[in-house]
């Protein structure tokens, strides 16, 4: 793994919740990770492994414990407010409703995304120019959304909202794209559509991506790098060649070897068809 | 479509109700006079005033149901209704508006500006101070008059000198936020200055402050007088307790307070004030220029109430001459 091209550097990041109480849990335990430009990293792990916590720290929802650092393109973004992370990270959530605003129209949602990270003034939010931009961005999705700019987002289906959320997360090109189990709640057909969309957009925009998934098969099939987390630590980190010919079973064994215990999470194994 | 249908139904209901209303009020032969009575809130004093007004008008020949129609509206302390009620009376073109309490009097006067509807207020302490009339006797520009329940502080001070002959210092408590109280306190100072008596003042913000304020007057004064201050009157018992414990004679300004333990006071019976107002309304209805030439009056019927037991508890005796003329004597 080469160190030049390092877009995102996570240095010795830990996160402890409910510190000092009976419920204290170490969600992240001294994690370090270098993400290179144009990496497409799939992140897997059992529940509670720390995947979402890691994403939250990159997105700035909360800061890491003292001593940890998050650096993007040379900028130390460890302790700046969540809203200031917008320029650096775009995120698609598991719930399609979290990534879009139901009471506003498609056009207005995209207008919000167009202004990602930029100061907002008193110009009209929607303009002919922005409308054109919105249409051009929505048309390739093949969902007909470009003709429904004035539709209230709340009336769209889950898949449509998620596709919209994907577009909104990548518009105005943030440095890194965070996909947080973003197809988990969609039906298989829609999930497939959104997944392919994700792949297309990532390739087109040359986005650096972190994709959290529960599905080991997907983790193997997509991306150029695979990370497996367990109990707040990264236990497996393999590149393209290493994961090229692996099967899910191989992955399970690799996990057991690395973490020193039997792999006991049914939900991941059951995803294997 | 369902939505349009719903709107139509609601609008029709509104229209029907609005149009039906004139037929529900004032059924029967057309009344000769129509009066709107605006009251601020349900309260024994205000209710008694209203009853007095109605009876007073009846005495002068204006009987409700006969040749008089009364539209009584009570805003129950809802300020937004106060203006609505005044506006309603103006739109209904009543022959006169009678208003009981300050906010609704102000609203009525404001709403009738430019019309020829006279406003007669009742139980307002300081009508000139609130701008209702330019002057009590002479108000050619205002079609407004009424009866005030302002007490004559001078008379109260004289009462004190009769019961506490060597009084040199009189203490008082009041809420500086109540305009009437500030006014009355200045009158107290006036009356006492004329007699060479010193006044010691204590202010309170809430009735909870009364105890401490009363405490502060102990050893400083020979007697305590309190005006018609709502805040102090709410915390009266605390004040009376201090006075009894320290033998300081206490003189309130209204009869209910005598019953609670004050020594003596000249007071108004609000029903009497209402009667007086009723007579005045009759004069307004008969005058060519409404209320313009009718001077504001002070409540005429002032009665003396005394409490002999309270006097004894506070170390003084009420002279027989006063007991003879007292309208009400409490002995507990």
């Amino acid at each position: 793994m080469s160190k030049n091209n390092s877009l995102l550097q996570i240095r010795e990041v830990s996160k402890i919740f409910s510190r000092g109480t009976v419920d204290e849990v170490i969600a992240l335990d001294n994690v370090s990770l270098d993400v290179n430009t144009e990496d497409f990293i799939t992140v897997i792990g059992s529940n509670g492994a720390g995947k979402t916590t890691l994403l939250n720290i990159v997105a700035g929802v909360y800061p890491p414990e003292r001593g940890g650092k998050v650096i993007i393109n040379g900028n130390d973004i460890t302790n700046i407010g969540e809203y200031k992370h917008a320029r650096y990270a775009g995120r698609v959530y598991q719930d399609p409703r979290t990534g879009t605003a139901a009471k506003m129209t498609v056009e207005e949602n995209l207008a919000m995304a167009i202004m990602r990270g930029k100061p907002r003034g008193l110009r009209a939010a929607t303009s002919k120019q922005r409308r054109e931009l919105s249409r051009s961005v929505l048309a390739p999705l093949g969902l007909g959304l470009e003709n429904r700019l004035n539709t209230l987002v709340g009336t769209l289906s889950g898949g449509q909202r998620q596709a919209l959320a994907l577009v909104m997360a990548t518009m105005s090109k943030p440095a890194i794209l965070l996909l947080d189990e973003h197809i988990a709640t969609l039906d298989p057909k829609t999930a497939q559509i959104v997944l392919e969309l994700s792949e297309t957009i990532v390739a087109q925009e040359k986005m650096t991506t972190l994709m959290v998934t529960h599905n080991m098969e997907l983790a193997l099939r997509y991306g150029n790098r695979l990370i497996m987390m367990h109990e707040g630590r990264i236990v497996v980190d393999m590149n393209q060649e290493q994961k090229a010919d692996l099967t899910v079973n191989d992955l399970v064994i690799a996990f057991e070897r690395a973490s020193g215990r039997k792999f006991a999470d049914d939900s991941i194994l059951l995803h294997h068809n | 479509m369902k939505k349009n249908g719903l709107i139509k139904i609601l609008i029709s209901i509104c229209l029907v109700l609005a149009l039906a209303t004139p037929f529900t009020i004032g059924c029967g032969p057309a009344a000769k006079y129509k009066i709107g009575i605006s009251q601020l809130v349900t309260h024994p004093a205000l209710d008694a005033t209203r009853q007095g007004i109605i009876d007073g008008l009846a005495e002068k020949g204006y009987v409700e149901g006969d040749n008089l129609e009364i539209d009584y509206q009570n805003s129950e302390l809802d300020m937004s209704l106060v203006a609505t009620i005044a506006q309603k009376f103006v739109s209904d073109k009543v022959d006169a508006i009678v208003s009981i309490a300050t906010p609704n009097s102000l609203a009525a006067i404001d709403a009738t500006e430019g019309t020829d509807i006279p406003v007669i207020f009742s139980a307002i302490t300081d009508p000139a101070g609130s701008g209702m009339v330019a002057d009590w006797d002479n108000h050619p520009n205002e079609n407004v008059t009424g009866v005030s329940d302002m007490i004559v502080v001078q008379d109260d001070v004289n009462l004190i000198t009769q019961i506490v002959p060597n009084v040199k210092k009189i203490g008082t408590l009041y809420n500086a936020g109540e305009a009437n109280s500030v006014f009355l306190t200045s009158k107290l100072n006036e009356a006492c200055d004329a007699l060479g008596i010193e006044v010691v003042e204590q202010t309170v913000s809430t009735s909870a402050d009364v105890l401490a304020a009363a405490q502060a007057l102990v050893g400083q004064v020979d007697a305590i007088w309190v005006g018609t201050d709502n805040t102090v009157v709410s915390g009266l018992e605390a004040l009376i307790g201090i006075c009894e414990d320290n033998q300081i004679p206490f003189f309130p300004s209204d009869e209910p307070s005598i019953e609670r333990g004050g020594i003596a006071a000249y007071g108004f019976d609000y029903y009497d004030i209402g009667l007086q107002t009723g007579y005045m309304v009759a004069r307004v209805l008969e005058a060519d220029d409404g209320a313009v030439s009718i001077p504001v009056e002070k409540g005429e019927i002032i009665s003396l109430s005394v409490n002999t037991a309270a006097a004894a508890r506070m170390g003084v005796t009420i002279p027989q001459s006063l007991l003879d003329v007292a309208a009400t004597t409490y002995e507990e």
């Binding site: 407010g81 809203y83 992370h85 320029r87 990270a89 775009g90 605003a101 139901a102 009471k103 207005e108 919000m112 202004m115 990602r116 990270g117 930029k118 907002r120 003034g121 008193l122 110009r123 009209a124 939010a125 | 939505k3 719903l6 709107i7 609601l10 509104c14 109700l17 609005a18 209303t21 004139p22 529900t24 009020i25 509206q73 009570n74 129950e76 809802d78 300020m79 209704l81 106060v82 609505t84 009620i85 506006q87 309603k88 103006v90 739109s91 209904d92 300050t102 906010p103 102000l106 609203a107 006067i109 404001d110 709403a111 430019g114 609130s130 701008g131 936020g177 109540e178 305009a179 500030v182």
Partner: protein, 302 residues
């Protein structure tokens, strides 16, 4: 003026002047999802500030503007309590409302300031137009002011900042992820809202002839009732029509009040009637859906 016209005139005037309160309430409760109870305190604040300035010789228009500015400060107080001290929104509003009661008394120096002998904005306009300062004049003034305010608000809500404000109430998490400082948008929205409410208080005080410290009691209920009735009757979808519907709802509410008064209903029952009206307006959509077999229970009990 015949009976029907007089009922309508009063309701139109009241619908417009209290409409500002309803718009302010709509802004916080619906657009920002911020349940702001400051209203009961900021309404009399506007009346107090305007009254004190007017009796001290100030130009009534300046006094009214000052009331607007001070109202914005009140909203600032509430929103700062919420964003900087992390005090729950409902509690922040209540605390501010309680504090304002004392502040209003301090500003006025007493519990009631009469404005009968003062020149108000209504008097000035009456003079300019050569009209009497009656209900029709009041309507003219409030119509003009309402149109101005509605235009400005509508334009603002379609700007970039305005959009961010609307989005904050709709989906705060998403909005933060897109780079909006939601603390700022909350402060902006709550401040503006209370500014409008204070403006209403200043207008009402000047029109009715006095400012009273108890003027604001029940304003939040009136505002909410107006918003809910407006939404129930007009069912608006876009932001522009929503603003109009809210003012329409205020008109409808005051119309019912006027009718109730004329029917001789005691005002103590008015609060009950208000509650019933709001219940009806809230229940209509649910009942309609049930009749059409379209009702789906929500995942979480609301």
């Amino acid at each position: 003026m015949d009976f029907f016209t007089s009922l309508m005139s009063t309701s139109v005037y009241e619908g417009l002047v209290y409409g500002f309160v309803a718009i302010g309430v709509y802004f916080t409760f619906r657009v920002l999802s911020f349940p702001d109870l400051t209203v009961d305190g900021s309404f009399p604040l506007g009346g107090a500030v305007a009254a004190v300035l007017i009796i001290n010789g100030s130009d009534p228009w300046l006094a009214t503007l000052a009331a607007l500015a001070v109202g914005i400060c009140a909203g600032l107080g509430t929103s700062l309590l919420n964003t900087k001290l992390r005090i729950n929104a409902l509690l922040a509003g209540i605390l501010m409302m309680v504090a304002l009661y004392s502040i209003n008394l301090m500003i006025m120096g007493r519990s009631l300031i009469p404005l009968l002998r003062e020149v108000t904005i209504f008097d000035q306009v009456a003079q300019v137009l050569g009209m009497r300062a009656d209900i029709n004049l009041s309507i003219i003034v409030t119509v003009v002011l309402s149109v101005i305010v509605l235009f400005v608000l509508n334009w603002f809500l379609h700007t970039e900042i305005g959009l961010a404000l609307r989005a904050t109430g709709d989906n705060e998490q998403m909005v933060r992820g897109l780079g909006v400082n939601t603390d700022m948008t909350t402060i902006l929205g709550v401040s503006l809202s209370n500014g409008l409410v204070s403006l209403s208080g200043a207008l009402v005080a000047q029109n009715q002839g006095f400012s009273d410290v108890g003027m604001g009691i029940g304003m939040i209920v009136m505002g909410l009732a107006s918003v809910i009735i407006g939404e129930g009757i007009f069912r608006p979808r876009k932001i522009t029509t929503i603003l109009l519907a809210v003012v329409g709802g205020t008109f409808a509410y005051r119309l019912f009040v006027g009718i109730a008064l004329r029917l001789g209903l005691p005002p103590t029952n008015l609060k009950l009637i208000t509650a019933v009206l709001v219940i009806i307006a809230l229940a209509i959509p649910y009942i309609q859906k049930k009749l059409r077999h379209e009702w789906v229970p929500p995942a979480v009990r609301m």
